[in-house]
Each structure stands twice: as C-alpha cells, then as structure tokens.
Symmetry: C2
Subunit: 233 residues, 2 copies
C-alpha cells in the first residue's frame, strides 16, 4: 500500500505559529521533504527543526535562485521522483512548507505532480498576510469588505488599476519592487494608509509606515493598505 | 500595571489547527473571553475547550442574531467594559477568535475599543480560506497570480464585476446568498471551475462541485473559484 504525502503549512516563521497538527505529523515522520535554495539553509526546515525526529530521512529539494520557470520546475521534477519512491515503498512523506501550502507555496508544484497517483493531505498554515496584519495592528477585512492580494512583481499599470479598484490590499513579495509599488501608492495618495512589514513574527521583524520602509526590502516583505476610515466601531 | 489583551486566532474549527502559541496562551489563561450567539454555545469556546483551565474566569460576549449593526456593537461595548475591568486589575485576558482575528473576525471590534488604552497582542490563526483550499485540493495563488476575497452578501452586480476582473476568487459567508452567487458564476460560465465547501476541517464538512451544493448552505460556507488552466506544472 502506498504512503500518504502530507503538505504541511508551517506558518510565517515563528515556530510557535505552526499548528498542533503540523507539529504532531512532523514529530512522527519517517521521511521529511523540504525545498531549499542553493547555497542557503532551508527556511522551512529551520521553522520545523525542533520537531523533526533525528531518525527521519530527509529529502532536500534544491531550488535554483532564478526567476526563470524551467530550472525551478526541473528541481520539482527531481524532488517529486524522490518523494514518489518513498510513497511507493509504503512510507508517508511529510513535506515542510513555509506559510500555507496553497497560498503562493511551492508545494503546489509537488501536488500537481503527485496527487493523481498518491493520497495527498494538505494541512493549512497561518499565512504571512495574517501574520503581517497581526503585527501591524491592521484588521484586513470586516463585514462586507473585500480583500485583494497582489504580488509585487505585477506591472505598474496593473498594480495601479487593481489598488484603485480595491478596498483592503495586501501586496506580497515586495522586495526589489518596492520603488515601483511606493510610487503607485503615492500617486493614488494612499501612502498614509499603508504599512510595510518584513519577516513578520521573526526576531528580525520590521513594521513601519510605508514612508519609512528601507530601500533594500527583502523578498519576504509585504505592504498592507486599508482604505476604510475606522469602520470597526 | 495593566494586563495584556491577547486576540487568539483558533483556526477554522478542527482544534488541531490552532497554533502552538494559541494552545500555550489559552492553557495559561486566568481570564478567557469569547463571543457567543444568543441561545447557542460558543463556536470559539468549543474549538479551544480542551485547553481552557478549569480555574479560568470566563467572559461571554453575547452577540444578538441580527444583521443590524447597532445591537451587535452594543454587545461589544459591554464586552469591552468587562475586559477592560480585568486588564485594569492587572490580569491578562485571552480572547478566543474563530479563524484569524483580523480576517472577518469580530475581535477587531474589541481591538478598536481597547487598543488605545491597553497592550493588545494579536496571534494570527489559520483562515477558513486556507482550510477550504486545502480540503478542496485547490491551490489559491501561485507566482504572480492575484487572489480576490469577496463576501457573499455583496450586491449581484458588484459580485459579477469583481469575479469577472479576478483570477482566483474566494467567496466567504455564502449562506442564503448561494442562489445569487450561483447565478452570477453560471452567467460567467465559470461553474465548472468552482468548488463549494462548508464546515472545512470539521466532522460535518462538505466539499463538492458548486453545481452539487446543497440549497440550504450554512453561513460558514465558501466558494473557491480559479480560472487558471493547471498553471502549476
């Protein structure tokens, strides 16, 4: 009988923000898989480290640092084969995922490759959006409000149109797109309603008004913007 | 010295989907507060029940069943006063919140009333969106995709325009708005790409194609719709 693949959301980075279910499944894992960037340690593995059994077999999926699609997808091909070999031998595999597996998570690449042939259970995790809103003290949506999630790499014109049409906005993957995003938000005269957050829940967390955001924003940074004028009373 | 108010996200319903931090804070709480509907037990309290100390003082915030704004807000006025009394006496208060406190959560009403005068820490939780996507096996967003979150009570024309302009869509609070939402999605010829989920992660969970959704959808139900044609390979 084949094993089950678990895609485990670990939350935004603070190991205490993983779920009880994630901690239980990791602690009883025989095989643990996770992505890692070349020449770096794995952020996912670091979040989960305290729960991984010393006896667990580890499958590293080494993802190249590239904005190109093909090299990364080739890495997931290799990773999926290694995972499939374990599953076919009847062993469960626990795949560690930063944040939530289905919210901008690379787990979906493994899911696409393996879910036709194997049982897959996705364990949802706390997203970076929830973590950033919590740390910024900014409610995201109440009542009949809408929330729009936009990736920072979108073209300037599209970002502008989407932010203009939106109510609450979370902009993910800010990084080197910060100047572009800042200029769009400034042109819409929304800078005062925008907060910048990086590394939410981690020791090196930054939370500040967008106007004070550092020039060298890391990939794991976010801007949250709400247009409502204190609608929560 | 005043106590701290903790707004604790409990996740979508399965008690194992609360975070380690939530479980720790609840287990050490001297005062626990939570909303409950009149004549019903508290869903939030039910999720957290196994962790609440027998000795904890409990503050029930009884919210009237009403779509009107004023009666509910009056209930939060009363609840905020009771919580403020504890905080002023130097006791921490742990407030239990279904899902994530700042994502369509009633905690923001307490936050608006108390965060000027007291320390408030928000502990993010797994949202119902992440839970529904996990159970439906539907990734929400990858790469530079956008995600739009819409409440079901929005007017038909607005829903239609927003869904048409969106990529991935999560429609919350479906309930009695199901016929309207279904007709909008059908008019856009997107029914085949839409999944209906209710009570995600709970024993009475339902996951099915939108076409098969039950007529009597509960308030805690959702529709997830993605337009991408298998973009995850």
């Amino acid at each position: 009988m084949n094993g089950t693949l678990y895609g485990i959301g670990l939350g935004p980075g603070d190991p205490e923000l993983m779920t009880l279910k994630a901690a239980r499944l990791i602690a009883s894992a025989a095989v643990v898989a996770y992505p890692k960037l070349a020449n770096a340690d794995s952020f996912a593995r670091r979040i989960a480290a305290d729960h991984i059994p010393a006896t667990a077999k580890e499958i590293e999926i080494e993802v190249p640092m590239s904005t190109l699609r093909e090299p990364a997808q080739a890495a997931y091909d290799v990773g999926a084969l290694a995972i499939a070999a374990e599953l076919s031998s009847g062993r469960d595999v626990v795949c560690l995922c930063e944040g939530d597996p289905f919210f901008y998570g690379s787990f979906m690449y493994l899911f696409a490759r393996l879910s036709d042939d194997f049982e897959v259970e996705v364990v949802p995790g706390v997203t970076s959006i929830s973590a950033c809103a919590a740390r910024a003290g900014m409610p995201l949506a109440a009542r009949n409000e809408r929330l729009t999630v936009l990736p920072g790499p979108l073209p300037e014109e599209e970002l502008r149109a989407r932010i203009e049409a939106a109510e609450s906005v979370a902009i993910m993957k800010v990084g080197r797109h910060l100047p572009k995003i800042r200029s769009v938000i400034s042109a819409l005269e929304l800078t005062d309603q925008a907060v910048y957050i990086s590394h939410a829940s981690l020791p090196n967390e930054t939370v500040c008004p967008l106007a004070d955001a550092p020039e060298d924003a890391p990939y794991f940074s976010m801007i949250i913007l709400t247009k409502g004028a204190d609608p929560w009373l």
